[in-house]
């Protein structure tokens, strides 16, 4: 169903997706795109590196948000695909391919591996699913580690980059991270506005009803899992180029899972903007506390726990509910006389009981 079918009976009510005129959002987006594409030429190299790592985390957090915030799958094993993406890049680079060209191939490999994995993982739900994703990540790490071709536990240098001058390499890697992040965010936005997003929101509201209405719940979840695996594979590939010494414990580090989880959690699950905001907070914390060891992660983790308990919609969710403001809306909003403006309340919110507690309004919602 598209918005055109949703013509309200009462003509005083309007159904809109965008609150801010699309032209403004688009203009803002163009400014951002131009700025970040131009950034390596105007910013010092150290800032470019920080931005690059920021974009790698944005990719991961956006993918994790898609998994957990929209499809309800709390994975703590996404580092499996980060590692596999990195090692796929390494494989092609050793075989003589330009590592940058290997990025899309790494993405495809991760998607292909993710497909059979879903048949195992989808037998479990909730917490069991979570720990099983971790087991899969652990197994992937052990398998890769036992292959001598990849240098086993000691690691392997990513070949094919030595001919590029340092500043050039820094620029190129940054641009790769930025473009992948841009593609991932835009693709997620488009995906959520499609039919698939509609299925996800119907599952969120009532899985049984969605299933009985013919929504292909499992295959939708499978698609989301594969997309998230592919996205994390891209992040892993870029990460490999940015390091570029590839080590088992580094690529398959559980810390990736922690960072993407905390960033999406704090920023706001179930919103496109939230995880990006979470990544900004993460980098501000990390840069401010960089001389204090792991304290930034402790504070970030404690913050995430606090947010999960007291403000489960995260900071962006709070802003959205408070100021009725959304930059990249995926749902529709009903406005007009007598309609309380509740800005796509609970957009893709996995907690049905909280929906019940809220005062019912005569608003209708749809994605």
């Amino acid at each position: 169903m598209s918005v055109d079918d949703l013509t309200p009976v009462d003509q005083s009510i309007t159904v809109k997706r965008h609150q801010i005129p699309v032209a403004y959002t688009l203009a803002g987006a163009i400014v951002l795109v131009v700025f970040f594409t131009w950034a390596p030429w105007i910013l010092p190299a150290s800032d470019v590196s920080i931005l690059m790592n920021f974009f790698i985390l944005v990719i991961m957090a956006t993918m994790w948000n898609l998994l957990a915030g929209y499809a309800g799958m709390v994975s703590i094993g996404q580092q499996a695909f980060i590692g596999l993406g990195a090692y796929a890049t390494l494989y092609f680079a050793i075989k003589g391919m330009d590592p940058f060209v290997a990025i899309p191939l790494a993405v495809i490999i991760c998607a292909v591996i993710a497909f059979p994995v879903t048949y195992l993982l989808f037998r479990l739900r909730g917490g069991y699913f979570s720990v099983a994703t971790w087991v899969v990540a652990d197994s992937a790490m052990l398998v890769i580690g036992s292959i001598a071709f990849f240098g086993g536990g000691t690691g392997h240098y990513l070949p094919g980059l030595s001919s590029i001058a340092f500043t050039q390499l820094n620029h190129d890697t940054y641009l790769a991270a930025w473009f992948v992040a841009l593609i991932v965010v835009v693709a997620t936005y488009i995906l959520l506005r499609s039919r698939l997003g509609l299925v996800l929101s119907s599952v969120r509201d009532n899985e049984v009803a969605a299933r009985s209405s013919g929504a292909k719940v499992t295959s939708t979840r499978r698609t989301i899992f594969i997309v998230a695996a592919a996205g994390c594979g891209a992040a892993g590939a870029v990460l490999a180029i940015s390091q570029p010494f590839i080590q088992l414990g580094n690529e398959f580090n559980l810390q990736w899972a922690a960072e993407m989880l905390f960033a999406s959690m704090i920023g706001g699950l179930g919103t496109i903007e939230g995880p990006i905001l979470g990544c900004i907070i993460y980098f501000v914390l990390q840069q401010t506390l960089q001389n204090y060891g792991a304290w930034y992660l402790i504070i970030f983790g404690a913050l995430a726990v606090g947010v999960a308990i007291w403000q489960p919609r995260g900071i962006w969710g709070f802003i959205r509910d408070k100021f009725h403001f959304e930059l990249l809306p995926v749902g529709y909003r009903v406005q007009g006389a007598g309609v309380i403006d509740t800005m796509s309340r609970g957009t893709l919110d996995w907690r049905p009981w909280r929906r019940a507690r809220e005062t019912p309004t005569d608003e209708t919602e749809s994605t």
Binding site: V74, R125, G127, L142, V305, I309
Partner: protein, 290 residues
Amino acid sequence: MIWLNVIVSGVLLGGFYALFACGLSLMFGVMKIINLAHGDMAVVAGYTAVFLVPKFHLPEVWSFLVVVPIFALLGYVVQRTLLQKSIDRDPFTTLLVTFGLSVVIENLLLEIYTANAQSINIGSLIAKSWQVNNTIYVSYLSLTVLIVSVVVLAALQLFLSKTSTGRQIRAVSDDREAAQLCGTNYRHIFGVASSLAFATVALAGIAFGMYTSLSPTAGGVNLLFAFETVVIGGIGSLWGTLIGGILLGIAQQFGAHFNEQYTVLAGNVLFLLVLAIRPQGLFGKKVVMS
């Protein structure tokens, strides 16, 4: 004879895994939550034994006398504050909260006690073993842990089936609303179950510190082993947990027999096989896990 050795050491290791897993199993059975900080709690227990117990002028072998009661209390408090708050939200939140806790605990230990490995000093006991024949040695420590594990499981089983509190725990686990209607304060019962789970995890952490060395990041692997044990044995079955632990131990020893690198991988493969063939576990009831 070699295979017998593999099996014996697997069984001994299995007792340890079962001890680790029974807390996880209990918390899932009663509260329907997976405590992702389970392994880290064990590591914290180990660190408590290393750093706190010497202050009581107590030999470290007896550290469990101090640590287990502390953890039982801690379990009740953590449940009634942090965990209950997240259970009140939904299962989704408990996962995020316990995972967050796990990362916070790991990094706090790293900051306070550095990444250096610590171990619980048990003197000459570590080296003593019982020689069965030319090839098979059974270390006293492993045997003790296996016995402790069986005793703990038996005691838990007895407690759950014979005592009033145990019956209430089972009632809440079966149907929380119905138990509440009959006058059971489920929050208190959750606290008691969590207290038991923390007490067993403290024992497991101390055993772990005696076996090998503790490091801040050891919690993750321990959680994985405990989780694999629970799933292999079957969710909600305490004796299944023991069998699951033993099978996991044997699988790991079997892998290690070929190559040291395959130790953990062999366990993971067994876990994934069980998942593929019999997702409810060997002794589990066929229920929808959600």
